[in-house]
């Protein structure tokens, strides 16, 4: 009698990806803690940086979007500006061994001096553990952490998602603005923006 019934209860999951350890740092929540090896072989613990504003910058020196901001001098200038204000700017390299952007500590340091970059430190994360804890997706992908360890900003370096250097002047410099808001004791106006760039070359 039910010859007309043909619809099925289909329970299907489309496009299931390996998202196991991929978390998302949440603005206003405590930033994921980490302990990382630096380019000069030491260890940096996020907890030890309490009391200071911390900037995390995911990077890959060969990514055209990273090159846009280094070759133009935009990111090195921001790094120097941050250092002058006592802000701890950390580069994070999450490219897996053999992938684009993967470098050893010595190369990473040499690259920075060649590019005029001045981060407080370079964190080597070839396992992708820190990147995945933050949900970092692109290079560059920027995070700002308050002195009391809360995430204050996550997203793009600025607002125009291109690899064209001439767009930098026209863009809203989100990280600069966020740091200015924090310095003035304000809430960060744009606390979550779209990151843009190359995908991070995580280990599979």
């Amino acid at each position: 009698m039910m010859n007309e019934r043909r619809s099925l209860i289909a329970l299907a999951f489309s496009a299931v990806f390996a998202t196991s350890a991929f978390a998302n740092a949440t603005v206003d929540a405590p930033a994921p803690t980490f302990s990382a090896t630096t380019a000069d072989g030491r260890t940096v613990d996020l907890a030890s940086l309490r009391g200071k504003t911390v900037v995390l910058e995911w990077t890959n020196h060969d990514c055209p979007y990273v090159r846009k901001h280094y070759e133009s001098g935009n990111i090195p200038a921001q790094q120097k500006d941050a250092a002058a204000k006592g802000i701890v700017w950390l580069q994070v390299i999450s490219s897996a061994a053999g992938q684009q952007g993967y470098v050893d500590g010595a190369t990473a340091t040499a690259l920075n001096s060649k590019r005029g970059a001045a981060p407080a430190n370079i964190l080597l994360d070839p396992s992708g553990q820190i990147g995945k804890a933050y949900g970092a997706q692109t290079t560059p992908h920027m995070y700002v952490i308050t002195p009391d360890g809360k995430l204050a900003y996550k997203g793009g370096i600025d607002s125009i998602a291109t690899a064209d250097k001439s767009d930098i002047a026209k863009a809203d410099p989100y990280v600069k603005l966020a740091l200015a808001d924090l310095a003035a004791g304000r809430k960060v106006a744009q606390a979550s923006t779209r990151p843009y760039g190359c995908s991070i070359k995580y280990a599979n």
Binding site: I9, L11, T19, P64, Q99
Partner: protein
């Protein structure tokens, strides 16, 4: 292929003549070309243009929303004065997963479409240049910019180009507006797309047009039930601002292939909990029992009442013990029928079918069977068919010694003809039961059956109650014959239902079957008492039943459109509500007697019609006589599994409608219309 190469060469050559950029440029990863549907254009014309990207294996370019990383392809036109370029029209993207990162884009080959308007002032040649920027990624990403040009002769009459079919095909593959209504609801963590979907889907994916509206890499859970598909989209980093529409592309894949639809819909806050969630087991059992009791009084049970009245008087002459046993046998028949119905629904649910109350009446075969059954009972009551109690027991012989089987099958028959009715209270209980585990579902169905059987059972258990029954006598034979007519009337009604389901062919089949049944009954009475008569009669009856297979399978389109109501469609309802107009929705079915009675005694009354007209109400009628997923979807939205359902959306009202009771009077309807606003 050769032609296209030749054309490209021609264009490149033509380009050099008039200093336009070539129409094709190659990088190591991408060959980009501008294709047009005309090789010669005329002034004022709309020219279809495609940017074709041929992408090297394993590389991809990006959609308008590139997903977690990446960058959409962009075209910057340099046009002659007076010419205009449309927005880019994107084909549906696919997902590209790279570890935990998901991108939306294209691989192999893609045609991104635009339209150019040839200016009225154009003369001789129409020359345009496009600066095209794309990001192409594999594991690494390379931004690339190329300059492409078009240089087409302008003539009095445009001439289609060799690429016209290619562009037409690309246009045909663009995401289309969804041909079905898609609703979007919102919870804390996700947006949910809901749309009517009959065919089983193998896959469904939604691509939001803006970054971060949905989590690009999170799996989207698809569920399909009762002709409705739901796709859950976990919210991303940039949740939709309240009141803003969710825009994007819904890609669905069924056995017929892949379709892509454009979606643009403002999410509704999560609907208030439906009675499905409100009803606990105890409440459901009580509601079902009450519903079953009221079922005795419902108009569709009239033929059943006549049977019961007969058998009750029949038993009044017997001993109290016999009467009691008859009552129990009848109850057993009812309960067993409801248990069978419950089990059938469970089996259907397990097999993935749609389930709901009364939906067996959506099967023309079932309707035909019940029509013949009622006709046969009528024949028996008329005295033409003296079927012994042992044979089936229907319309058991008043004078003879009726078997308990007779009472049992009376119970079965009562259950069968009661199914097209929904009584008040029943809807909520059944809606609850149909979503529960097997034991709960069966308990609710048995409770419903008990309610149906209870009045008769009580009468048979307490002889004191039987005192009001009149003494048996010759008048009973007269009454029995008189009661045949409600059965014939019920059979006529079912033939009418069948007419809507299977058209004239079904009616002819049903009526021929009845003639054959009557002939068989007559033959049997004439040729009695020989075995031959029985055999021939049985043969005819069997042949009749076999004919049912010939029931027209195709169903004519008989959505009845009366002059005072419009057929219900979700689009029409949405449009009326968007305009803020008051709407009355009546979900009905030809086989639902309560629906028909409500229409007759309330909805079709002049005072109600007048009230509708005065308030400027649009009256939408949804006919569920045959399966209709769109109506099923609306029913389930209000926690119902069957008709009738009456909804009133007041003027300018947002949110769920006011739900009217299942038994209507003109007063109830008019009061509901004038109620200030629906209480949340």
């Amino acid at each position: 292929m050769l032609f296209r190469t030749l054309l490209s060469l021609t264009l490149i050559f033509g380009g050099t003549v008039s200093h336009a950029a070539p129409n094709t440029a190659r990088t190591e990863q991408v060959e980009g070309s501008l294709l047009t549907d005309h090789s010669t254009v005329q002034v004022g014309q709309q020219l279809r243009v495609a940017l074709r990207q041929r992408i090297a294996p394993h590389w991809h370019t990006y959609w308008i929303n590139p997903g977690d990383s990446g960058q959409a392809t962009s075209i910057e036109w340099q046009l002659p004065a007076g010419a205009t370029a449309s927005e880019v029209e994107w084909p549906a993207p696919s997902r590209q997963a790279l570890g935990p990162i998901t991108n939306y884009g294209y691989s192999n080959e893609v045609l991104i479409l635009s339209r150019l308007t040839v200016p009225a002032t154009a003369s001789k040649r129409f020359t345009v240049t496009a600066q095209v920027t794309w990001l192409v990624c594999k594991d690494i990403c390379i931004p690339q910019t190329v300059t492409l040009g078009l240089d087409l002769p302008v003539a009095a009459v445009a001439v289609a180009g060799l690429d016209a079919p290619l562009l037409a095909a690309a246009e045909a593959h663009l995401p289309k507006p969804a041909p079905f209504p898609v609703r979007v609801t919102r919870t804390d963590k996700s947006l949910v797309l809901i749309w009517p979907q009959q065919q089983a889907l193998m896959q469904a994916e939604f691509y939001a047009e803006a970054w971060g509206i949905v989590n690009h890499s999170a799996p989207q859970a698809l569920t399909q039930q009762s002709g409705t598909a739901r796709l859950e989209l976990p919210i991303g980093e940039a949740p939709l601002v309240a009141g803003k529409a969710l825009a994007g592309v819904l890609k669905i894949q069924d056995s017929g292939g892949e379709q892509a639809y454009r979606i643009q819909e403002v999410p509704q806050a999560l609907a208030k909990p439906t009675p499905v969630e409100d009803t606990g087991l105890a409440a459901a059992l009580a509601l079902a029992l009450a519903g079953g009791l009221v079922l005795n009084l419902m108009p569709c049970v009239f033929p059943v009442l006549s049977i019961k009245a007969l058998s009750l008087m029949n038993q009044a002459r017997d001993s109290a013990a016999t009467t009691r046993r008859h009552g129990l046998a009848y109850t057993l028949g009812v309960l067993l029928s409801f248990a069978v119905l419950g089990l059938a629904l469970l089996a259907l649910r397990a097999a993935g079918g749609e389930i709901g109350w009364g939906l067996q009446f959506q099967s023309p075969l079932f309707v035909l069977g019940v029509a013949w059954l009622l006709f046969a009972v009528g024949l028996s009551l008329s005295g033409l068919l003296d079927v012994g109690a042992s044979a089936a027991g229907l319309g058991s012989d008043l004078a003879g010694k009726p078997g308990y089987a007779g009472s049992f099958f009376t119970g079965v028959l009562a259950s069968v003809v009661a199914t097209p009715c929904t009584a008040p209270f029943m809807g909520a209980a059944l809606a609850y039961a149909l979503t529960q585990a097997a034991p709960v579902l069966l308990a609710v169905f048995l409770s419903l059956g008990l309610g149906l059987a209870l009045p008769y059972l009580l009468l048979s258990l307490w002889p004191a109650l039987q005192r009001w029954l009149p003494r048996p006598g010759a008048w009973m034979q007269t009454l029995k014959q008189a009661l045949a007519f409600p059965m014939y009337a019920a059979a006529v009604w079912l033939v009418w239902v069948l007419a809507q389901q299977s058209g004239a062919g079904g009616v002819v089949l049903a009526l021929s079957g009845m003639v054959a049944l009557a002939f068989a009954a007559w033959l049997r009475s004439v040729m009695k008492p020989g075995l031959l008569g029985n055999g021939v009669a049985l043969l005819i009856a069997a042949a009749t039943l076999a004919c049912a297979v010939a029931l027209p399978a195709q169903t004519p389109s008989t959505q009845a459109v009366s002059n005072d109501s419009e057929p219900y469609t979700p689009e029409r309802l949405a449009a009326l509500r968007a305009e803020g107009k008051p709407v009355f929705v009546n979900l009905t079915a030809a086989w639902c007697i309560s629906c028909l009675v409500n229409e007759r005694v309330a909805l079709s009354r002049p005072e109600v019609r007048e009230a509708f007209a005065r308030a400027g109400i649009t009256y939408l009628k949804g006919d569920w006589t045959r399966q209709d997923a769109r109506i099923t979807a609306l029913l389930s939205e209000y926690g119902r599994t069957g008709v009738p359902l009456y909804l009133f959306f007041p003027r300018g009202h947002e949110g769920p409608a006011a739900v009217l009771p299942q038994l209507l009077t003109p007063g109830i309807v008019i009061d509901a219309l004038s109620a200030p606003a629906h209480k949340e």
